[in-house]
């Protein structure tokens, strides 16, 4: 685990990243959009919501805490807004009736100041547990943006990789021992998995923190075992959503990294009972040892309600406690 260590025999609990925004944030974001309040007023509420989520995670005994991303709209736009070279573009649809502002690369992309460090420091000041640094990966920022500047996608991705590396280094200097670089788009094109790997190497090479990537929404069966070449200590994957079908692949090609074991479906209101979660962990332990396993939901919980997210996280912790007794 890099130069970090956690107490106990393994099966540590965490979250993937985002947590639901309470109603008062959603209301205030609308008010800000209509210019009825100042940005500072929203920020006060984002600080309050972050505090509440840290307190909640501490109260259930979460091992590696997240800040819950109360201040983010979209995981790409949040970075794009702060990075020279990227402009925020017009609305495009992502699915159903959901739309986002897709960034456009219009000149060389870089980073001239820290983007996430202040939020990380605030969250870490509230708890004794390690707080994860949360970054969006270079391949995903490229894939979810328009490109009007670069001749090739590779040029775009590698510039982004250097910018995200600088951010990761700043997080590490601030004290982050766990740094997650999300690459949900990594499963989009198998012929670009080498580019995902090349870019991630630029980000993680100078880091001594425990590094994690989260990949989702894709055809993992095609990407496995090649995805094990992504230079991170841990890969976080959705297991519940695919009925643990990836475990079959692990029989043929053993999983060689730490795993983030997603055991709760984030796209359903249903709260999985503890028994079901316990069973999922037990099945997975046949393939991956407990001291290499973090347990969490499939993906960010931001589309759930606050209550649903709390219940899901509570049940995950209860399930982990049951299985820890059996180790």
């Amino acid at each position: 685990m890099g130069n970090v260590s956690l107490p106990g025999p393994g099966l540590w609990t965490t979250s993937v990243g985002s947590l639901p925004k309470p109603d008062y944030i959603i209301k205030a974001r609308g008010q800000l959009a209509r210019k009825e309040i100042e940005r500072e007023e929203l920020k006060e509420l984002e600080l309050k919501a972050t505090r509440e989520w840290i307190e909640f995670q501490d109260s259930i005994g979460t091992d590696v805490v997240v800040d819950g991303e109360q201040y983010r709209g979209d995981m790409v736009a949040f970075f794009a807004e702060e990075m020279p070279g990227l402009e925020i573009g017009g609305l495009v649809r992502s699915y159903g009736n959901r739309y986002y502002r897709k960034p456009i690369a219009t000149s060389p992309v870089g980073r001239d100041k820290p983007i996430t460090v202040e939020w990380w420091e605030y969250a870490q000041s509230l708890t004794d547990k390690p707080v994860k640094g949360m970054l969006t990966g270079p391949y995903t920022i490229c894939d979810w943006s328009f490109n009007e500047h670069y001749a090739t996608r590779r040029d775009f991705v590698l510039d982004l990789a250097r910018a995200i590396r600088d951010e990761a280094l700043d997080l590490e200097r601030a004290g982050a021992r766990f740094i997650q670089i999300d690459e949900p788009a990594a499963s989009t094109r198998m012929d670009e998995l080498d580019l995902v790997i090349e870019a991630m190497a630029i980000v993680t090479e100078p880091l001594s923190a425990h590094t994690i990537t989260h990949i989702c929404y894709g055809d993992f069966h095609r990407a496995y075992p090649k995805m094990l070449d992504i230079p991170v200590d841990q890969i976080d994957l959705e297991f519940a959503n695919s009925d643990y079908s990836l475990l079959d692949e692990f029989s043929t090609d053993p999983f060689t990294k730490y795993v983030g074991l997603g055991i709760s479906d984030v796209h359903t209101h249903a709260i999985e009972p503890v028994d079901e979660l316990v069973e999922g962990i037990r099945r997975s332990l046949k393939h991956i040892p407990a001291d290499r396993m973090f347990v969490d939901p499939d993906c960010g919980l931001k589309t759930r309600t606050v209550e649903e997210a709390k219940e899901k996280l509570t049940n995950i912790k209860k399930a982990v406690d049951v299985v820890r007794e059996e180790l």
Partner: protein, 324 residues
């Protein structure tokens, strides 16, 4: 001789910056119970009217309704076909766009038209030909889950039978051009014989309408010239994501039309006029002006509204110049 311009299908739903996004608001209101399905239809009718007007003003010769009543090309049909349920979210090809995958849990059967009312409305609004768009049977099957049929072939042909009825109804409603979308075929060359048979069942039902087999998001080189055995009048290729498609266009039989996607429908960078002019001239040199139609590389929904409009204007103005 003039060169025909067209679109591949979809058009952005969001309005230009600063304008009210009525369809999105109405859908939210519908979810809360504050609006009725009639309110939604009214908002969609208004949007169709706008997107047809924008295509016409840009100078596009053959328009669509922008597919703005739909989320994608399969679920609006699956919702009307017996045997299908709508499942979880999955990525739409290699885009940061997701759709709900249809699941066939029973026999796939026609229950009445899915797209005919929409076609009639658009044809009423437009002052030029409106192209109807339907999914091809191979793509429909591959974008769905089959939990009912013994094999993929039976599933594809069951879907083809339903789509054949849909196409016949569209023709009866007056659709002069019917485009059958088979993007999934590019990644599944082993399905070519099924596509020939399945698409043939659809076009076999038609006597008047001109038919186009549309592909996009890549090149068709793994299919090779076998693609031209699919019995349609014309073939659509994406020359942006699949520049090698130019070789297939060179090999196309002399009686087949070519719909060439030459403006990038998935990136905002506006095409250089002289480069675009060169591309159209090259295509005219290969297939001649009569058989050629030029279009964006795929549906335009992947772009913000202003960018899509600017691309259509450029496409039409350069095509007009070359065709003058």
């Amino acid at each position: 001789m003039p060169i025909q311009t067209t679109v591949v299908g979809s058009y952005p739903k969001p309005p230009a910056e600063g304008e009210t996004f009525t369809v999105r608001k109405t859908l939210h209101a519908l979810e809360r119970g504050d609006a009725s399905p009639e309110d939604l239809k009214e908002a969609q009718d208004e949007l169709v009217t706008t997107v047809i007007r924008e295509q016409q003003e840009a100078g596009i010769d053959v328009v669509t309704d922008g597919l703005v009543r739909w989320d994608d090309i399969v679920t609006p049909f699956a919702r009307h076909i017996a045997g299908f349920e709508i499942g979880g979210l999955l990525r739409w090809f290699d885009n940061n766009v997701y759709y709900r995958r249809p699941i066939a849990r029973g026999a796939v059967e026609w229950r009445g038209p899915s797209s005919v009312d929409g076609y009639r409305f658009a044809a009423e609004i437009a002052d030029r030909p409106v192209k109807a768009v339907i999914p091809g049977p191979v793509s429909f099957a591959r974008l769905s889950v089959n939990e009912h049929y013994a094999d993929h072939e039976a599933f594809v042909l069951a879907i083809a039978a339903v789509l054949a009825q849909e196409a016949a109804e569209l023709e009866a409603a007056g659709a002069p051009i019917i485009q059958i979308d088979e993007p999934s075929l590019l990644g599944a060359p082993e399905d070519i014989d099924l596509a020939i048979e399945g698409v043939g069942r659809i076009t076999g039902e038609l006597s008047e309408a001109r038919t186009i087999l549309a592909t996009y998001f890549g090149d068709a080189k793994r299919l090779g010239t076998d693609i031209f055995k699919i019995p349609t009048d014309a073939f659509g290729f994406d020359l942006v994501s699949g520049p090698e498609n130019i070789e297939l266009i060179k090999a196309a039989p002399g009686d087949k039309g070519i719909q060439a996607g030459i403006v990038d429908a998935r990136n905002t960078r506006l095409e250089d006029e002289s480069a675009l002019e060169g591309t159209i001239e090259e295509l005219v040199g290969i297939v001649g002006p009569e058989r050629l139609s030029v279009s964006p590389s795929s549906g335009l929904e992947f772009l913000p509204r202003e960018k899509a409009r600017a691309k259509l204007q450029r496409l039409a103005s350069v095509a007009k110049k070359v065709g003058a």
